[in-house]
């Protein structure tokens, strides 16, 4: 049970990172996404890049992203993902949620500091 919850959080975090990346950088293939996320998030995705794919599939099923086969810069066949209008909305909502959470968390941390 416990592992399931944390993997949910992981999936959720990864989803936002995927959407954000696609939103900022335009269409990407899976490997490209993995690289970007790796560089921006530090070591978070340095191993187990494969776990990205179930998340991509989930986002596609929800309609937040769409995929299409194409050729990479090195002329290699790859599946390219792009964010949809729906995905942008989801991203916006999620970001706002995160901001609020961060704010609250920050306030709590301050509370702790003050009481000390």
């Amino acid at each position: 049970m416990g592992t399931k919850k944390s993997s949910d959080v992981w999936q959720g975090t990864l989803s936002i990172m995927v959407l954000k990346t696609l939103h900022m950088l335009g269409p990407q293939h899976g490997y490209g996404l993995a690289r970007r996320i790796e560089t921006t998030s530090g070591d978070l995705l340095s191993i187990n890049q494969g776990t990205l794919y179930p998340v991509l599939l989930k986002l596609e099923q929800e309609g937040s992203i769409a995929s299409q086969w194409g050729n990479s810069e090195n002329n290699r066949r790859a599946k390219f993902y792009r964010i949809t209008a729906r995905g942008r909305r989801v991203l916006e909502l999620e970001e706002r949620g995160w901001e609020r959470t961060n704010e609250i968390m920050a306030r709590f941390s301050r509370l702790g500091e003050e009481s000390q």
């Binding site: 490997y31 187990n48 890049q49 599946k79």
Partner: protein, 916 residues
């Protein structure tokens, strides 16, 4: 989220599964290639570049699983895997598979066979338009002992013309028709109906038309309508049949229509052709009301009218009518006999006699199925117990309990489905087989369909109805029922081991394993109560079957009042064209009897218009001269028949007083009548009836009583004495008739005498048919068919139930003995003798049987109330039946215990303990 959208997506993915899988692999591969290329660019050697790329991607398997999980195929794949595992498990243990599938197949097959009859007879609506509005009507005279009489002609016209609650109403009656001319006369069962009959039922002709209103009037052409079966068989389904003529009863009749193949009348399934009922003005007049209640009536309720409303309307109609005709006295006489018209739902009425036996059989096969399921549940329970350590190991290695549950369920459902398939196969194989065996050339050549035939099964005891039963087996409802049975049973016997699995802490399995598996208490309890339940159900079935068997024996032992053995019977029919008057009819039978009596081996021969157990019923009111009716007494309407000299001798009916008819009681002599003991005692208790004068509804002269004979049963051996309304006899020499049955007695007479009798008839007139030839005792047997068939089936079901319960007991005890090997070994090491061990196991079996019998006895108390109306001459809690059932069951259970018990005594303590 958008569940619908996701569901749709997943569904689409499901169908393009192969392509999706390929794309996933390609995508993953391309990912790794790109990483490898980047690594190469960083200066790694090719080998290392690839390895690093793979490491970075992480577990390929995990990614695939996660991807597939998301794709939603997991469920389907796991189900397929469960079923594969189930199949594997069944294959690994073929004898287990064979026992369970066969048990299930036989019990489901039985259920389907009975259900297909139940479905076609009780559940399916009558095959007519808007059948819910169809009702049947009866005249009830409870005051004179007649609860349900049929209807008379004025009833029809009254109810048709003066009643708003009926949209349409019709009379019908079964008939026999002599078809053909010259010496090629064929006797065909038919139907006489009012022209309103087909509109009432909502049946239209497939070819031509149905009857016209004016065809109910005397005169004009004689129209006839053929059933589909007769049209195909006799007229080769000729499309130009309408307008052709055939000879019926010596008259030319014109074929005006052919009925659709779907037409069937459950009470007259054999009818091959239909003719209109023709009524003279005298028959229709109100003066004729109340007598000749000879016709069945079917009506269609006006929309929005209930049967109760119609009854109320009819009640006021008859009250007004009685007042109109005879004033206050008329109303009083109706009230005296408690007259009322009874309106019954047609479907309920037509299935009245078979409903309870059918439900009883259905209940019985359901119990058999349950008992079979319990056996399978016990087997699976034992197996899951044995697999507990394995399961515990798997649970410890991370298999969720759900996986284990699904594995058990997969096996259960597979067993259920295979059992269901075997069951359907058995049912569809067995039904036609039974039918073919019972096919007789005189019946069942008709297109009469399943419902009617199924009715025959129980009302006439022939299993010929099963001939159509196979067709019933194809109906959607039966299919749904079989699927429900297969899945329902598999969940039933799958659930028990699963519940057991959940109630256990799997970890204890390790410790138990370590300690050498002492028997689990809880499992023992489950096993034990299942066996006790089986015994209880088997007991219930045995008692039910026993009560039915005793009822049947009692019914068969009833003295009909005559000696049916060695009596040949057969019907003749004289057409009114060739034999227009009484003289011609009298002289024909005079001469026929003369030549039959001369046949070798014939001891006595005569004729009767009302053959006992010949399915005809005639009543007529009689009034003794000078008899003072008691207050509140109504008219007496006994059965009556026209017989010939020698009749009472041929049937060995005892003569208590006076004499029987003689040749000399001719048309010019004194009119004589013979009454039965019941009438004699009713009118002249304690005094002689001889010489008394009796008035009948026809003719002016009175009839002199010349004899009193024994009361005989005429159609039902089990009818109560109170149902009897007496009987009287006239002689054909004084009251000639054209439709007489022959009765021929001889020490060695059997059906083969039919040829000599037929020859005698043909010598006199080749145009007179001899039909429906049977030995009299055969007719009596037939009349018991409605008891025999359910009884035989029930006995068979009970036997299967007992067998299955014994198998169940055996299985559980054998398992228990195997489990208690260690305990037994210790006991023996401590000095127990084999006899003690034997007693220990037997005690366990007897204990289970005792609990089962007690529970069964409680069930019996509930059951008997329900089946009481099916019993005859036996108390519902007949001690003999109860004792025998208990004994049979106990004996079977103990027998089943013996083998495991003896195995227990052969435990070698040294070896058993050394195994630990």
């Amino acid at each position: 989220m958008k569940p619908l959208r996701r569901a749709f997506y997943r569904l689409r993915m499901l169908f393009s599964r192969g392509r999706q899988e390929r794309e996933m692999s390609e995508e993953f591969a391309s990912h790794i290639e790109m990483q490898t290329e980047d690594n190469l660019r960083l200066g790694m050697d090719p080998h290392r570049a690839r390895r690093e790329a793979l490491m970075k991607f992480g577990s390929m398997r995990a990614a695939q699983e996660g991807w597939r999980d998301q794709r939603g195929l997991r469920w389907a794949e796991e189900t397929a895997r469960d079923l594969r595992l189930g199949l594997h498990a069944l294959r690994r243990n073929p004898s287990f598979a064979a026992v369970t599938i066969l048990t299930l197949g036989v019990t489901i097959g039985l259920n389907l066979a009975i259900y297909s009859v139940v479905e076609s007879v009780l559940l399916a609506p009558l095959p007519f338009k808007e059948p819910a509005r169809l009702v049947t009507l009866y005249n009830s005279f409870p005051g004179s002992g007649a609860d349900r009489l049929a209807n008379n002609v004025p009833d029809f016209f009254l109810r048709r013309e003066r009643v708003n609650g009926l949209e349409e109403v019709a009379l019908y009656v079964g008939s026999g028709e002599s078809v053909g001319g010259g010496d090629r006369v064929e006797r065909v069962p038919g139907l006489r109906v009012t022209p309103s009959f087909f509109p009432t039922l909502g049946v239209e002709a497939a070819l031509g038309r149905t009857f016209l209103e004016e065809e109910m009037n005397p005169g004009g052409v004689h129209p006839v309508i053929l059933t589909d079966g007769y049209w195909r068989e006799r007229f080769a389904a000729s499309a130009e049949i309408v307008g052709q003529t055939i000879e019926i009863d010596g008259q030319t009749a014109m074929i005006v229509g052919v009925l659709p193949a779907s037409f069937r009348l459950p009470t007259q399934p054999d009818a091959r052709l239909v003719r209109p009922l023709v009524f003279s003005p005298e028959q229709r007049s109100l003066e004729a009301w109340g007598s000749n209640n000879d016709f069945f009536m079917v009506g269609r309720l006006a929309p929005g009218t209930s049967a109760e409303q119609l009854e109320a309307e009819l009640a006021s109609l008859y009250e007004n009518l009685a007042y109109e005709l005879r004033g206050a006295e008329g109303v009083r006489s109706l009230e005296k006999v408690g007259f009322r018209t009874v309106v019954v739902d047609a479907h309920e009425d037509l299935t009245r006699n078979v409903r309870l036996p059918l439900l009883l059989l259905w209940g019985a096969v359901s119990f058999v199925l349950l008992i079979g399921c319990v056996n399978i549940a016990n087997l699976m329970l034992a197996r899951s117990e044995a697999r507990l350590p394995e399961m515990a190991t798997r649970a410890a290695l991370g298999a969720g309990r759900l996986r284990l549950v699904r594995q058990i369920l997969g096996e259960a459902i597979l067993t259920g489905v295979l059992g269901g398939v075997v069951g359907v196969g058995l049912a569809s194989m067995v039904l036609p087989l039974l039918g073919v065996e019972a096919l007789s050339p005189t019946t069942n050549t008709d297109g009469a369909a399943a419902g009617a035939m199924a009715l025959n099964l129980l009302s006439f005891g022939g299993v010929e109805s099963f001939g159509r039963g196979s067709e019933v087996g194809l109906s959607a409802s039966v299919f749904v029922y079989s699927v429900a049975l297969a899945l329902g049973t598999s969940i039933l016997f799958g659930a028990i081991p699963i519940v057991n699995l959940f109630r256990k802490d799997l970890n204890t399995a390790f410790t138990l394993e370590g300690r050498g598996r002492t028997r689990s208490r809880r499992a023992a309890l489950v096993h034990g109560s299942l066996v006790a339940g089986q015994v209880a159900m088997a007991f219930l079935l045995l008692v039910g079957a026993g009560l039915m068997l005793r009822s049947f024996r009692q019914a068969a032992d009833v003295d009909p009042g005559f000696l049916p053995d060695g009596v040949f019977t057969g019907h003749t029919a004289l057409t009114s064209i060739r034999y227009p008057g009484g003289d011609a009819q009298r002289s024909f039978y005079d001469r026929l009897l003369g030549s039959i009596r001369a046949l070798p081996g014939v001891e006595a021969a005569s004729v009767t218009s009302l053959l006992p157990f010949g399915s005809v019923d005639r009543t007529m009111s009689i009034t003794p001269l000078g008899y003072e009716p008691r207050p509140g007494e109504s008219l007496v309407t006994p059965n009556w028949s026209i017989v010939g000299p020698g009749y009472f001798d041929a049937l060995r009916i005892q003569v208590f007083e006076g004499r029987t008819f003689e040749e000399s009681d001719g048309p010019e002599q004194q009119q004589v009548i013979i009454i039965d003991e019941w009438l004699a005692k009713y009118f002249w208790p304690g005094r002689s009836a001889l010489g008394r004068q009796i008035r009948l509804p026809f003719g002016n002269a009175t009839w002199t009583v010349i004899g009193v004979v024994q009361t005989v049963k005429l159609k039902d051996l089990t009818s109560a004495v109170s149902d009897h309304v007496g009987a009287f006899y006239l002689s054909y020499r004084q009251v000639p008739a054209g439709d007489m049955a022959l009765v021929v007695r001889g020490a060695n007479v059997n059906v083969s005498i039919a040829e000599s009798v037929r020859a005698a008839v043909t010598r006199l007139d080749p145009g007179v048919p001899l039909f429906d030839v049977q030995m009299l005792n055969h007719r009596l047997n037939e009349s018991l068919g409605s008891r025999r068939t359910p009884t035989i089936l029930l006995l068979g079901f009970a036997a299967i139930a007992v067998f299955l319960a014994a198998v169940g007991t055996y299985g559980v005890l054998a398992y228990s003995v195997a489990q208690r090997k260690r305990e037994t070994a210790i006991r023996m090491a401590l000095g127990s003798r084999p006899a003690d061990i034997l007693a220990m196991v037997l005690k366990q079996g007897v204990f289970l049987a005792a609990i089962g019998l007690t529970a069964g006895a409680i069930g019996v108390a509930f059951m008997v109330r329900w089946i009481q109306s099916l019993l005859f001459g036996v108390e519902p809690l007949d001690p003999l039946v109860l004792a025998i059932a208990a004994a049979v069951l106990s004996f079977s259970v103990i027998l089943a215990c013996l083998a495991p018990a003896r195995r227990a005594t052969r435990v070698n303590p040294m070896r058993a303990l050394a195994q630990e």
